[in-house]
């Protein structure tokens, strides 16, 4: 199983001279498994160059699955410009959560039907199958097992676990601390008296979900200091990623969803902060913490 980082910027694309190392495209990851069509997680601007590369290399259309964490713009905005969708023979299955108001297909269709993009959605219709996903599902994509979990972010956001051949990759983005900070639409029904119990169930479920993962990509939009007062923005710090990894015996953590204002140096500060934290509690050898550049692969 190979994990490829195609884009890991949060919120909006950007690129200045001080951001070249970690890149400026918004969220997109690829998971490649021998003998299988690719699985992508999210469709931020990171899939644009990937799409162009695919159409240059292939004459037949792409067959692929997309797992969408949630439908915020930075995670889906590149689909109308994803080159394989303009090729006959392409077949994409786009799977992900609905929003409070709309099903996932309508959320994609809206971009085309309201005059926002001069490409009729009709072109894409026969090339895309949509499937709505909810937390706590388990299903197969070809030879891989896929599991879902609820994350703490505005709307309904899913974390994914992809398993194959005894290896596992988890994608945990976008996600915020849960303590007194209930952002998800499914949390609206929580009653005040149950908050502590509900928070514990939520977090324990998440720990079980990422248990023993070989690789966990985790939202680290903020630093430990930067998140203070912004917990309700829906994002995490490196220390949160490390805590989760330690509790669940995760082997490797990939930091991501970097803030658009983060320079390369800021990302390196986050890596150091995570490693220093591990060192301070005597766990340096328990978890490996890295950040990747666009195009970097991790082979499991």
């Amino acid at each position: 199983m190979i994990f490829t980082l195609l884009g890991t910027r949060g919120s909006r694309p950007i690129l200045t001279y001080e951001q070249v190392k970690y890149g400026g495209n918004t969220t997109a990851f690829k998971i490649s498994i021998d003998g299988m069509n690719p699985i992508y997680v999210d469709g931020g601007t990171g899939i644009f160059r990937e799409g162009v590369a695919i159409t240059k290399a292939n004459t037949r259309g792409l067959h692929a699955h997309f797992l969408i964490t949630h439908t915020h713009w930075d995670h889906i905005l590149a689909f109308p410009f994803f080159a394989p969708l303009f090729m006959p023979g392409t077949k994409l299955t786009i799977m992900g959560p609905r929003s409070e108001k709309y099903d996932i297909k309508s959320l994609f269709e809206h971009q085309h039907n309201k005059g926002l993009i001069p490409i009729p959605f009709e072109i894409f219709k026969e090339r895309i199958d949509f499937k709505e996903l909810y937390p706590n599902e388990e299903f197969m994509i070809e030879k891989a097992t896929i599991k879902t979990v609820e994350l703490n972010h505005q709307g309904l956001t899913l974390g994914y676990r992809i398993e194959h051949g005894g290896k596992s990759i988890c994608i945990i983005t976008d996600h915020a601390p849960i303590e007194n900070n209930h952002l998800g639409v499914l949390m609206k029904g929580w009653k005040k008296d149950d908050f502590t119990a509900k928070e514990k169930i939520f977090y324990d479920t998440l720990v079980r979900f990422v248990k023993d993962a070989d690789l966990m990509m985790h939202d680290t939009h903020f630093t430990k200091e930067g998140i203070k007062g912004k917990e309700n923005w829906g994002h995490s710090s490196p220390e949160m990623a490390v805590d989760l990894a330690l509790k669940a015996n995760v082997k490797k953590v990939v930091l991501g969803h970097h803030a658009p204002e983060d320079k390369d140096n800021d990302v390196e500060i986050k890596i150091k902060s995570a490693r220093d934290y591990l060192k301070s509690i005597g766990k340096s050898n328990s978890v490996e913490v890295v950040a990747l550049s666009e195009g970097d692969e991790i082979c499991l």
């Binding site: 950007i14 601007t45 644009f48 160059r49 959320l107 309201k114 993009i117 972010h153 709307g155």
Partner: protein, 270 residues
């Protein structure tokens, strides 16, 4: 006082950041026209977020002209700092019905697509203006004319009495009445900002997509007798190296034209 033009978004269609496009930039459309400390912004692609990164003060009265509602010209709205500042007023102008812009804002700021509760819940104040003719905005005279695009789209002329800047993106400059009227209207401007998305061989496959070739833009600049031509709406993957090459070829081909392919954050003055 000269008019200054600064691009914060130079790309068309989509932003695809990469180290080979650092100088010309990767962000979608946004241009700022300045005279001293007065300014108007044109279009709100991802460049408008980058523009507000450069603003020392995100509080005040801002004036944003929208050419049309294609995604690459509005997708940066949420990242324009002043829309979140309680003491800012954001004035949006277009020749379209106010309700049309509001409908776009309704979709954009729907909670489905971001941590939003609708644009009306944002901290700043919004004023929407429908343009019906020449108007004074922040001390500039602004006028507009339709362009040749896949959906209705307008060019803007910004004048301060001495100098004028014409912004014409997105526009397919074929020999039709729309383009002839545009040329007459833009005649003699000091700076012409013009769509130049394609090379000739690319355009062959993209006729009717609503964008110009480099040559179409240069021919228009010549007919308009523009003193300076700034080429923009770069194709998303066109590298710095390629834009350098194209610019130097065009300079040889059109020796009478003062032209450049627009780079981000550089100030071009009338």
């Amino acid at each position: 006082m000269p008019l200054d033009v600064v691009f914060y978004g130079t790309r068309g269609s989509i932003s695809a950041p990469h180290e080979d496009i650092l100088r010309y930039g990767s962000l979608t459309s946004c241009v700022v026209i300045k005279s001293g400390d007065r300014s108007v912004v044109i279009d709100a692609g991802f460049g408008i977020g980058f523009y507000s990164d450069h603003l020392a003060n995100k509080m005040g009265n801002f004036h944003v002209l929208i050419s049309h509602f294609h995604w690459d010209h509005i997708q940066g709205l949420n990242y324009f700092g002043p829309v979140h500042h309680p003491k800012s007023t954001n004035n949006f102008y277009s020749p379209f019905k106010v309700e049309q812009l509001q409908e776009v804002m309704d979709i954009y700021f729907d909670g489905s697509y971001g941590p939003f509760n609708g644009w009306e819940a944002l901290n700043s104040k919004f004023e929407f203006h429908k343009l019906t003719g020449d108007i004074k905005i922040n001390g500039f005279t602004v006028s507009m004319i339709p362009l040749n695009h896949t959906d209705p789209c307008y060019a803007y002329k910004i004048s301060d009495g001495n100098s004028s800047v014409v912004y014409a993106s997105d526009h397919e400059a074929i020999n039709n009445q729309v383009n002839r009227d545009f040329i007459d209207w833009a005649k003699g401007c000091d700076i012409l900002i013009h769509d130049a998305m394609y090379e000739d061989n690319e355009y062959e496959h993209k006729i009717g997509w609503g964008h110009s070739t480099f040559d179409m833009a240069c021919e228009n600049a010549r007919k308009i007798e523009a003193k300076k031509l700034l080429l923009t709406h770069h194709e998303p993957l066109r590298s710095d190296k390629d834009l350098d090459r194209i610019e130097s070829e065009l300079k040889k081909k059109y020796p009478g034209l003062d032209l450049v392919c627009a780079q981000q954050v550089i100030t071009y003055s009338s």
